[in-house]
Symmetry: C2
Subunit: 492 residues, 2 copies
């Protein structure tokens, strides 16, 4: 009985019953190899005496351990550690938690898995992110509470999304985007990111090629790649994606799909030209290409009428439309959607069930209520005014302080400027200096499919108010190398 | 100008400005092919007269259309539809919404995409689903409102989950499951389903084999298959998965991982025997297998002490642990998690960013608050008592009314009984009759990897209170074929 010289530790303050503590301590020893298969255990009477507990307490612990197969009785009715147990693995003893390293081989990592954390106090002049300070949280919180009263929102439900939200989105798409789509042709997703991940998996097959904008949205490409697809870059110019380049790719079987952001191209902010829009739809119809249309900032267009999405002119069932509420409400709500041909939406929904089963129905119902009561629409109007003001403020600030260093066209929509950096200025060195000066900006290389430098900075104005924007521009100017700043001032 | 004989329709009640309506109507006609490239348009003066609007309104519309490239001026300064536009595709005209059929080729569908909708009034004697009527919705709603006050919960945030929730889960796992895991080794997912989908994609490679329980959880298999993996069935007996069968599979390179439910095996409810637990860990260590441990109903164990998870004895970094709050709180919250070796969790988090970016931080923070204030724990205790009562009620009901038709061992935990159907009774015919009688039960075939019939029914007691359970048993008995019922009564 030498094993018992180290007493079992029982803790009277531990809320677990003493029998449970005894059983737990014994299995810990067995697992750690301190008690080997076949090792004798003290009699219940002896152990009870040692521990100062009632014998029934030990009998309860032994009974449970026997039922679970940890311990057994030998023919002489002595109690011993079950001989069925294999010896413990070396190194298994006393592990204080999960290992730092996996004991199996990990496949290659996603190629773009770094998402930086910014130092506190950094002003985020970053593309496309809205201001969470503008979200109508009181209305949202109340709507969520009301949604919880219907307890079916906490159960398993429709994987395609809450029917009320699908109906609200269908109405919104008709009114705001000229897209006539019935609720049944909409799948609510967890943001545009899940929409893209699903489309890559459910509508295409591993090995398929997808044409993408050579300057574009890297997280979308990475989702497509993780689905086993190949991304094929196609140049972008002042009229958007060079659609004419797709013909040969399609004819050669190099692509089965096109992913693009035609409304305000990401990151350049240009709108796809009408001739290209029609040419793309016609090519897709003939070549049976999937057109994955990402209409991510549809709600923010400041000049004239927003251009209708490709999906609104698709009679051939080639467009699958991706939208999100991340910009108009909040990214943290994780509400996006896919709209398109019914059979494609059904296929996407089938895949979604095996990805995360369904969305958060209570949040979906709460957001539907914001739409039904007009709160979401009013919020979109209010914030459009706010963002229009911020756009003007940033344009004015850049003109006043960085005219020689940056040139730009004020974008017709969206939440960011795509600025050309003057010759001789290294956008990446500038961005690095700017970060040290307390302002985060994105150099062109981040958006390039070939990861090569581009003489551009993308400056987002969504998250900062006008005072903060002025300060951000000041810091950006202060981060300019001195010579460059002078050169800029004269070259404007 | 014959094109203009059909007047453009302007609607004074439409809130859109008249210039927008004009522009919209013209692009609709261009898209529909009613106005071809090069077709002349009326002068602004003429159109203004026809429509009864101010000429400036038409000029605004034309200006915008010209800026977008839809229309152009010829050398004689007449306005015409841009010659750059290709002719519209046949069939593109006047499509009232997305097509029913995709104009591209869909890849094969998931093989198990049917999720039935039950007729209203059906009593759900279904496995594993908890009762949403028990969820503490008032506490949850209040916590959510408080979480929204911190607006960073509505922005982009930590893809691994809210730090407060990760800390709360780490404490819970230590206290309730004996699993010492730091918050950094936990990734919060959207339910166990996303945890499995992620593990299949981030920790394994397409073509890899995964051993699964031959009677098991089909949605998990389907997630693994959609990740390109092969599922290899291994028999289950009264001691759980037959671990000894894995050795040869691993040696032959047929498997790189094992997915299993060792606590209360799904669907048979048996607990994996201690000898097999240790043998599995040792084999995994030697063969570098990933052990994907699904501890899905850990919270509900009614007899004695719950068996600790495999992960708590893993010193080799081979176990990745999957848990969920679907049973203890609510499936609709979609909160699950993965815990395991740090490098594996980092890899999973990197993949998750491209799947749906992050969870719903406000919901995660609200649930964390329920844990911090002890509400979640109190709720778990309360509901454990409720479910224990329901388990007794179902056992008593089955003994009283179906003793000859069904035999079972009352499960030590979980929310379902695995009942053997008496010889001569067809479980599927019975289940079909039962559904018509207003009670839904699951026949064994639904859980079989080979999809062949098994003489079992799985009866879940989670969603029904004791009165409803009595009625469900009555309906199930009423659905027995008469001869079988008599045979049952005498054979008990």
């Amino acid at each position: 009985m030498r094993t018992w010289q180290t007493p079992l530790s029982l803790d009277r303050a531990d809320p677990a019953p003493l029998a449970v503590q005894i059983a737990r301590a014994l299995t810990a020893r067995i697992r750690a190899g301190a008690l080997r298969p076949g090792a004798p255990l003290p009699s219940s009477r002896a152990l009870a005496r040692t521990l100062g507990v009632h014998r029934n307490t030990v009998l309860a612990a032994y009974g449970e351990l026997a039922a679970e197969g940890w311990i057994a009785s030998d023919p002489a009715r002595a109690t011993l550690v079950s001989r069925d147990l294999p010896p413990p693995a070396p190194g298994a003893a006393g592990a204080p938690g999960p290992a730092a390293r996996a004991g199996f081989d990990l496949p290659p990592a996603p190629s773009d898995a770094t998402w930086e954390t910014l130092p506190p106090g950094t002003l985020e002049l970053l593309g496309g992110t809205p201001d969470p300070r503008l979200v109508p949280v009181a209305a949202l919180g109340s709507a969520y509470r009301r949604a919880l009263r219907r307890r079916e929102h906490l159960a398993y439900g429709d994987a395609a999304g809450h029917p009320r939200l699908r109906a609200a989105l269908a109405r919104m798409l008709g009114e705001a985007r000229g897209l006539a789509v019935p609720p049944e042709a909409i799948l609510v997703t967890r943001g545009a990111q899940m929409a893209l991940a699903l489309a890559g998996r459910a509508l295409l097959s591993p090995g398929d090629g997808v044409a993408v904008e050579a300057l574009g949205y890297r997280p979308a490409w990475e989702s497509l790649r993780l689905a086993g697809l190949r991304t094929v870059p196609v140049p972008v110019d002042a009229r958007g994606l060079q659609v004419e380049r797709l013909e040969a790719l399609a004819a050669a079987g190099a692509i089965r799909a096109v992913y693009l952001t035609p409304h305000h191209q990401y990151p350049t902010t240009v709108t796809l030209a009408p001739a290209r829009r029609l040419a793309l739809l016609e090519l897709a119809r003939r070549a049976r290409l999937l057109v994955l249309e990402d209409d991510y900032d549809a709600e923010f267009h400041y000049e004239g009428r927003p251009v209708p999405p490709l999906a609104s002119a698709d009679g051939a069932g080639v467009v699958v439309y991706v939208g999100t509420l991340s910009k108009v409400l909040a990214p943290g709500l994780r509400i996006g959607w896919l709209a398109g041909p019914r059979d494609a939406i059904a296929r996407l929904t089938a895949h979604r069930r095996f990805l995360d089963r369904q969305g958060d129905l209570a949040v979906e119902a709460a957001v539907a209520e914001l739409f039904e009561e007009g709160e979401a629409q009013r919020h979109a109007w209010r914030t459009r005014r706010v963002y229009a003001g911020r756009r003007e403020a940033l344009a004015a600030g850049l003109r006043a302080h960085l005219a020689g260093a940056l040139s730009f066209r004020t974008p017709a929509g969206g939440m960011a400027f795509w600025c050309r950096v003057a010759p001789g200025l290294d956008p990446e060195a500038w961005a690095a200096r700017a970060l040290r000066a307390g302002v985060a900006v994105q150099p062109g290389r981040l958006f390039a499919h070939d990861r090569r430098p581009r003489p551009f900075l993308r400056l987002g104005f969504g998250r900062l108010d006008e005072r903060e924007l002025a300060e951000a521009v000041r810091r950006l100017a202060a981060a300019l190398p001195r010579g460059a700043q002078r050169a800029g001032a004269s070259g404007a």
